[in-house]
């Protein structure tokens, strides 16, 4: 299901049609068979795309796997929106 959403979004973006899933997070719960949409906003404090970025190249990724992520300037561990917990799994 999610792979198909990705394929559909890709085709839409390539064609420049419709409303892309930018600044929106679509969540899918297969057991409940429910989709939910969460609006996303840019975080002005984001170390990458915020107003005063601290990540300007990929060197942070050279410090080992953990180093890739331990960068929140204010030590925040909460996501910027009330989003479902991050989960791994391909």
């Amino acid at each position: 299901m999610i792979g198909l959403v990705q394929a559909t979004e890709t085709v839409k973006l390539l064609l420049g049609i419709g409303e892309p899933l930018i600044a929106r997070l679509l969540t899918y719960d297969a057991l409940g068979m429910r989709f939910r949409e969460v609006k996303l906003r840019r975080d002005p404090k984001c170390p990458l795309c915020g107003t005063s970025p601290t990540i300007t190249d990929l060197s942070i990724h050279r410090n080992g796997a953990g180093g890739a992520c331990e960068i929140a300037p204010d030590g925040r561990r909460e996501p910027a929106v009330a989003a479902p917990a991050a989960k791994a799994g391909g």
């Binding site: 419709g18 892309p20 899918y28 297969a30 990458l48 990724h61 890739a68 960068i71 791994a88």
Partner: protein
């Protein structure tokens, strides 16, 4: 009886004209504009403006409604030298399109100004049949299909997410698909990773994936990249693609892909799944948030399985 010269002069009184540089500025500004090439299809195929839709003069009044839904939208018409389109523009004005502009000097002056054109490679008979259902969709059509065939998409991961994505993109006729995965097919992959078959167990995923995609659509140029994405190869790999699809299965890769795409100005179509739940979004640099806005830090180790 009116002479042609008189007809053109009359048309010029009601139709404003713009030169190639004005049109180029309009296109680059991002403001809404519809560009219609009113020449015959064979002239269009030989070279046209990328933004242009082809509606030849004879069909203009019948088909303009599919290209221009709001009659107040600026519409720029062009032909080879700017005369056919001038008369065509007058006809559209009479139909009630308020903002019709003629490209002065037409396609000829556009190319002489050194502005970019695209040339359509003729589709073969198989392609015309294969994509016939796309041609029926006004939002795709012949022009959209050609865009898809010219497009280059990188799929990071040929697993649970990458498999269906790759199949659908190949079926739709996305011309170049980079398939990146460093793993080999394991029997435990097969209940969800539909790119691979039982006979592929032990083979690199990009190898079985390439074979499946080529079998589905021989039009697609599949580039197998049998490696993990790393800090050392990511920038070099993504630079060749229009769009990146992240179907990876771990946080390190997601942060790496996010950062690299943002720095390279590439849009990242993100997805992840775990058991019965999944999520998808699009990270477009400077248009919306990135993965780090959403997850400033990864969940502590141990909280989530990898």
């Amino acid at each position: 009886m009116k002479t042609l010269k008189e007809m053109l002069a009359e048309a010029r009184q009601v139709v404003p004209e713009e030169g190639p540089a004005d049109l180029q500025r309009r296109l680059q500004s991002g403001d809404k504009v519809v560009v219609i090439d009113v020449r015959d299809p064979d002239e269009y195929r030989d070279g046209h403006l990328e933004a242009a839709t082809n509606i030849s003069r004879g069909f203009l009044e019948f088909r303009v409604g599919t290209a221009v839904t709001d009659p107040s939208t600026p519409v720029v018409l062009y032909c080879q030298t700017g005369l056919r389109s001038l008369l065509a523009a007058k006809a559209l004005k009479e139909l009630g399109y308020q903002n019709v502009i003629n490209l002065q000097g037409g396609f000829q002056k556009w190319t002489q100004s050194g502005l970019p054109v695209v040339k359509d490679v003729p589709m073969n008979a198989d392609q015309i049949q294969r994509y016939s259902r796309h041609f029926l969709l006004p939002q795709v059509g012949d022009k959209g299909q050609r865009k898809l065939l010219r497009a280059k998409v990188l799929l990071i991961g040929a697993g649970g997410l990458g498999s269906p994505t790759a199949l659908y993109l190949a079926a739709a006729g996305v011309g170049t698909l980079g398939l990146m995965d460093g793993d080999v097919v394991d029997i435990t992959n097969l209940q969800r990773q539909v790119l691979h078959t039982t006979a592929d167990i032990g083979k690199p995923k990009v190898e079985s994936g390439t074979r499946t995609l080529k079998a589905l659509n021989p039009d697609v140029h599949v580039i197998p990249l049998p490696m993990r994405i790393t800090v050392d190869n990511v920038m070099d790999v993504i630079k060749d693609y229009d769009l990146i699809v992240d179907g990876s299965d771990n946080f390190e890769t997601r942060y790496l892909v996010n950062d690299a795409c943002f720095l390279a100005g590439k849009t990242n179509v993100h997805g992840s799944i775990f058991q019965f739940e999944g999520m998808a979004t699009v990270f477009a640099p400077n248009e919306g948030p990135c993965y780090r806005c959403l997850y400033p830090t990864p969940p502590p180790p141990g909280l989530v399985p990898s």
